[in-house]
């Protein structure tokens, strides 16, 4: 169990570690950052128990892990929410992917503690502690969505050169197939994910796939993303230098709820012109919702936005019909492993 005092202590260690890296950086050429080698990697499935691609990939790799092994790395596949997986439901008491904040991680374990908070503390002990220098280097967290997002990579921190370089590598490897990057960095919209306990957290979100359904094509897409991600780590560890790079990402700016009546019931649904149009530009006047009476509600913002998580089943209860993003270019410095 991690108390707030211990967490702060680990945070101090982490800050020292970051400062050492910065010093190393100044000592080498300005355009290349030295990053610590990435040795301990985890792949999480079943953070939401009804998102089946990750569940079945992890279970398969637990029986036969040859595909995810790379020299110089330890890769651990892990089911994070086993009770939800057994019931094929998103969660038992509360959303596991929202409770890795310091308050929940530090909470005293009582009889009535939600299952997922208890699980979060266990996971933090096994793969964290979050913020410490003994936390896992990298975690891939596997998710599905009912939205038409394709194979999306989720980035938590716009300053993480290692992950930006990885995403650049993955996008190139998958091209011409597109691989959107969703940046969830935001003062209040960012949430405390399961993967956030690692130094490098990577979300992999593949859709569309209904909850409780396993599609071969979606599984395959997720599998390819992981393969390229692990290849990148191996190449990085072996001393390859990655020149500075730029990637286009979609940064979250706002969530949009369904129109509701005074009884909180939904009175308009995602318009057919917006349905399945994740990552496509939405301009002023474009249809967004359709009411029961057949009327169109249009987008009224002045600037172009790029909607995503359009009509995700699990977000009806979170009051989210879609999220608005803007296109942003992120640049990563040149990168090389400090062990080479």
């Amino acid at each position: 169990m991690t108390s707030p005092a211990t967490l702060n202590h680990h945070k101090d260690h982490y800050i020292c570690f970051q400062q050492s890296l910065k010093l190393l950086n100044r000592m080498t050429s300005c355009s290349v950052v030295l990053g610590a080698p990435v040795r301990r990697v985890a792949i999480f499935g079943g953070t939401h128990g009804n998102e089946l691609s990750g569940v079945f990939l992890v279970k398969h790799w637990q029986k036969n892990g040859a595909e995810i092994q790379r020299s110089g790395l330890q890769v651990t596949p892990f089911i994070t929410n086993p009770r939800a997986v057994k019931k094929c439901t998103r969660y038992i008491d509360c959303d596991l992917n929202r409770v890795f904040d310091p308050d929940n991680l530090g909470r005293k374990v009582m009889e009535d503690i939600p299952y997922e908070v208890r699980k979060a503390q266990e996971i933090n002990n096994l793969f964290g502690p979050k913020g410490s220098d003994v936390a896992y280097d990298l975690i891939f967290d596997l998710h599905n969505t009912t939205s038409n997002m394709g194979g999306t990579l989720i980035l938590e921190n716009s300053g993480n050169d290692f992950i930006i370089q990885m995403f650049h590598y993955i996008k190139n490897a998958l091209a011409p197939e597109s691989c959107p990057v969703f940046l969830i960095e935001h003062p209040n919209l960012k949430y405390a994910t399961t993967r956030s306990i690692a130094k490098h957290p990577v979300g992999v979100e593949v859709g569309p796939q209904p909850q409780g359904v396993l599609r071969a094509d979606i599984l395959d897409k997720m599998r390819k993303i992981i393969k390229h991600g692990l290849d990148f780590v191996r190449i990085f560890n072996e001393g390859e230098e990655f020149p500075p790079c730029t990637i286009e990402v979609y940064r979250i700016i706002e969530k949009v709820d369904y129109p509701r009546n005074k009884n909180d019931e939904i009175i308009a649904i995602i318009h057919p012109c917006l349905q399945d149009q994740d990552w496509q530009p939405l301009n002023k006047g474009d249809p967004v919702f359709l009411t029961c009476d057949g009327e169109t509600i249009a987008y009224e913002g002045d600037s172009t936005v790029y909607p995503t998580f359009v009509n995700e089943a699990a977000y009806y209860e979170k009051k989210q019909a879609f999220v608005k993003t803007v296109k942003v270019k992120l640049t990563a410095k040149g990168l090389r492993s400090s062990s080479s």
Partner: protein, 316 residues
């Protein structure tokens, strides 16, 4: 001559006065739930000259929780075994609910039962919009299906015939004298798609138009139609502990109502091996990869194409 034989076989049925439309037999199949909630507020779309249809939410507790069912699948609970059972304190919620529905719209098999009950469903499978009727009740529902196929222009509507011949009907529409299910997909559980919602509304409107025309004395001529008759199901390959060891093959995924021949791939394991269909004849798979069927041990249902000759129909 065949024509003369058909003419001689004109069937007459009582006019249809009591019609119900149920949404949310499964609490996470959103098209029917949303439509029924709308009709409960605004019933005008269900009114015709000769009758008005009654909308109702079949499984309110499951709807509230946005789950298929709470205790047991409501749409497998309308058999005599459950409907005639004595109330027990520990019985599943759906057993009690089935008895209530049987009281309101049945009793099943009696003269007081509603004339027609429509059940609205969604599936994660790529069935498009299909019409599901019971094998035992061929006349009025088949004419209704034929009317939809020839008048409802928003799509193509295959007819699926359920129940093995000796099997007792178990679904909600079996409570009424005649029943029909509208099954639209693919739609994820818990998701409301505008395109399917519109199509479902149009199907119900068309069905009620047919009933109104029938009640007014229209003669519906004899016809031949193709239908898909349910003959069995195929489960996923599983490990000894029951876990799936393969997914539906990408070549079978989304191919509902298309022919599946012996030797065609049906599953792919997580290690990349293909598993081929071992049956002896071509079949037409439906409900390929329906989320709710994993626990029923069904990867897809098998149907065979059949041709039905339906005699002419007019009200008494």
């Amino acid at each position: 001559m065949q024509e003369a034989a058909c003419m001689a076989a004109l069937q007459r049925l009582q006019p249809v006065s009591h019609v119900a439309v149920s949404g949310g037999t499964h609490g996470n199949e959103m098209s029917g739930i949303y439509l029924v909630k709308h009709w409960l507020r605004e019933p005008s779309a269900l009114q015709r000259d000769s009758f008005s249809a009654t909308p109702f939410l079949a499984n309110p507790l499951a709807i509230e929780r946005c789950v298929r069912y709470v205790g047991r699948d409501l749409n497998r609970t309308f058999t005599k075994q459950f409907l005639n059972s004595k109330a027990a304190w520990d019985e599943p919620y759906e057993v009690q609910r089935a008895r209530e529905i049987n009281q309101l719209y049945g009793p099943k098999g009696s003269a007081q039962a509603f004339d027609f009950l429509f059940e609205l469903h969604n599936t994660t499978a790529n069935v498009g919009a299909c019409l599901i009727a019971s094998v035992q009740d061929n006349l009025l529902p088949m004419h209704l299906c034929h009317f939809i196929q020839t008048h409802c222009t928003l799509g193509h509507y295959p007819i699926l015939l359920y129940n093995l011949p000796d099997q007792e009907a178990y679904s909600i529409s079996s409570v009424a004298k005649h029943g029909l299910a509208f099954e639209l997909g693919p739609q994820p559980q818990g998701v409301l798609r505008a395109d399917l919602l519109t199509q479902m509304g149009a199907l119900v409107a068309c069905a009620l138009d047919f009933i109104d025309l029938f009640n007014k004395g229209t003669t519906f001529p004899a016809f031949e139609t193709e239908a898909y008759r349910f003959i069995g199901s195929v489960d996923y390959p599983r490990h000894p502990d029951g876990e799936l060891c393969a997914s539906v093959h990408s070549k079978l995924q989304d191919k509902d109502f298309l022919p599946l021949r012996p030797g065609d791939p049906i599953f792919q394991t997580f290690s990349g091996e293909e598993i081929l269909y071992q049956g002896h004849a071509t079949i037409y798979p439906v409900f390929i990869n329906e989320a709710a069927y994993y626990e029923k041990k069904i990867a897809f249902n098998k149907t065979e194409k059949c041709s039905l000759s339906i005699p002419a129909l007019q009200r008494e």
